[in-house]
């Protein structure tokens, strides 16, 4: 790793990280405060309607009939599509900097003309990405805990149950980032790389969602990273999701390594 490259990456990523962290913190605070209040208004019968049940199942990754209650709504704060979109957007912004953005903007000529190996560039950028990602999810966690303060003490989810959700969410973030690294390493145009990544993520999101409604897709639901992000289990006092975290981290790591290999071997031409 290279100190100068780390300083530069931090300098360029802190504004977007700060803005997204504040937005995410606000959203989580709001969701954590508002969503549990719904539990009193929604009846068991309403959730037994097939369509409603399927939507909740798609979002939460599990059948909700046996888990209706405040915890179900608290879990939704971590699977809310805008929340996931924000977290993934941050991963995509960070992980398409090298080489796609550098080549696209022409700054690759300047910074790769310095005495740094491509491995150093890759590792330095990765470190900054992971630290910024951790900060983003820490902000989401603080927002969630802050929102919970507005609820009666007995209704607040315990920290020990929220923490594994956030760590699992971080693994989901790493998986999306790994995909972004891989696509970026092949690309010389950041816009094109981002479009491809968002399309893939959208397809994977829809796969997880539609598999609840359409039988033929059920067999492929395991391909979606959201299949491994099921916070409702954890809020219900379930065990740590080690296998889900492993699948997400391993997928992200494999794509990240593949991206690094492609980046180290490819030609870089800014013209």
């Amino acid at each position: 790793m290279n100190r100068g490259l780390i300083i530069r990456a931090f300098r360029e990523l802190w504004p977007v990280t700060l803005v997204l962290s504040l937005v995410l913190m606000g959203m989580e605070a709001l969701l954590a405060y508002v969503l549990p209040k719904f539990s009193d208004d929604v009846s068991q019968e309403w959730l037994k309607v097939d369509y409603t049940r399927a939507i909740y199942k798609a979002m939460l990754g599990t059948d909700v009939v046996d888990r209706i209650g405040r915890q179900m709504f608290q879990a939704m704060a971590w699977v809310d599509p805008p929340v996931i979109a924000l977290v993934w957007a941050h991963a995509v912004v960070c992980c398409t900097r090298v080489p796609a953005r550098e080549v696209d903007q022409g700054t690759a000529d300047v910074f790769l003309g310095l005495p740094v190996s491509r491995r150093e560039v890759f590792l330095s950028e990765t470190l900054v990405w992971l630290v910024c990602g951790a900060a983003l999810l820490a902000a989401a966690l603080s927002g969630n805990l802050l929102g919970g303060l507005g609820l009666p003490a007995e209704q607040r989810p315990p920290f020990t149950q929220v923490l594994p959700i956030v760590l699992n969410f971080f693994c989901l973030y790493v998986a999306a980032g790994g995909l972004a690294w891989l696509v970026s390493s092949f690309s010389s145009r950041r816009g094109r790389a981002m479009t491809i990544i968002f399309l893939i993520l959208l397809v994977l999101f829809l796969l997880n969602y539609l598999a609840q409604f359409w039988k033929p897709l059920e067999a492929f639901a395991f391909l979606s990273p959201l299949h491994y992000h099921r916070p409702v289990y954890l809020l219900g006092g379930g065990a740590w999701p080690w296998s889900d975290m492993f699948v997400l981290m391993a997928t992200g790591a494999v794509m990240w390594i593949a991206g690094g290999i492609v980046f180290a071997r490819r030609d870089l031409c800014t013209v």
């Binding site: 360029e12 000529d109 300047v110 003309g113 740094v116 030609d267 800014t270």
Partner: protein, 278 residues
């Protein structure tokens, strides 16, 4: 392409747009992997040992792009951190030389100011090899002169300057050795003195007697470009004494031999074989 650059030289790398100058430089800096052959700097392989090569190299790309939020001081600080050296002092001296305010942000800089900042970042660590890809395209003539003086001083101190350009005048003014590339092929690699000898001289002969001017046939080494009355305009190939021997005893009113015509020699190098034939 087979090219070797002597250490401590001011080496001009000439060629028309699209000839392959920048591609060659990209291979030298490890951005592109050679499809065949090898490229070495300081005896190190440019692809495999790229990091070590660039430690003692300063590179200024032709289309310099820097992050818009950076100012000169931040750039010096970050480049210094990457190189593991403090470049602030040397950078400030160079900024004084080029009259650049290091507090101005890149997004507020003119093209010329960005080029100056690029030069400062390229030269601040006193590299053994300086690779400049068309470095003066955005500089005013005064700053071009400042840069030329600086590069001459660096070359005198033993540093090697690899100067890519498509401007003959600039290379002629600065460099002591020149390579010319066309369509990815090296078409010349010689000292400027040798090229000057190869280049013809523009000659004007004004005869005293018009009838003699019309009667006489020019020798092989004199290629007439215009023949009008008592005046011949021609290009002289080879040494001038042959022309003087030819004119001895003839009624010459006035003889003018111009300096070596590198321009037309380079034009011949630049043109493709097809263009020359047509």
């Amino acid at each position: 392409m087979s090219l070797s650059v002597p250490e401590g030289s001011l080496f001009g790398f000439l060629g028309p747009n699209g000839a392959g100058k920048t591609t060659t430089i990209r291979v030298l800096l490890g951005f592109l992997r050679p499809t065949g052959g090898t490229a070495k700097i300081f005896g190190l392989d440019c692809w495999r040992d790229s990091k070590a090569v660039k430690r003692d190299t300063g590179y200024l790309p032709s289309d310099l792009r820097l992050p818009p939020w950076m100012n000169g001081s931040a750039a010096l600080s970050i480049f210094g951190a990457v190189r593991g050296r403090n470049l602030t002092g040397a950078g400030r001296e160079l900024a004084d030389t080029f009259h650049l305010d290091l507090r101005v942000k890149v997004r507020e800089m003119s093209l010329g100011m960005r080029q100056k900042l690029g030069l400062i970042l390229t030269l601040a660590h006193s590299p053994r090899l300086v690779v400049l890809d068309e470095p003066t395209s955005s500089l005013d003539p005064l700053m071009q002169q400042v840069l030329h003086d600086l590069l001459r001083r660096r070359a005198n101190a033993g540093h090697t300057i690899f100067f890519s350009s498509h401007s003959l005048g600039e290379v002629e003014q600065l460099c002591d050795r020149v390579a010319i590339v066309r369509d990815g092929q090296l078409v010349a690699d010689e000292s400027l003195a040798a090229l000057r000898e190869r280049a013809g001289h523009n000659v004007v002969i004004r005869w005293s007697d018009e009838s003699q001017a019309l009667r006489l046939e020019p020798p092989d080494f004199l290629k007439l470009t215009r023949r009008e009355g008592a005046v011949w305009q021609a290009t002289l190939d080879g040494p001038a004494h042959r022309l003087i021997d030819f004119l001895a005893g003839k009624a010459v009113k006035e003889l003018t031999i111009g300096p070596a015509d590198l321009e037309s020699l380079f034009s011949r190098f630049y043109q493709s074989d097809q263009e020359v034939a047509s």
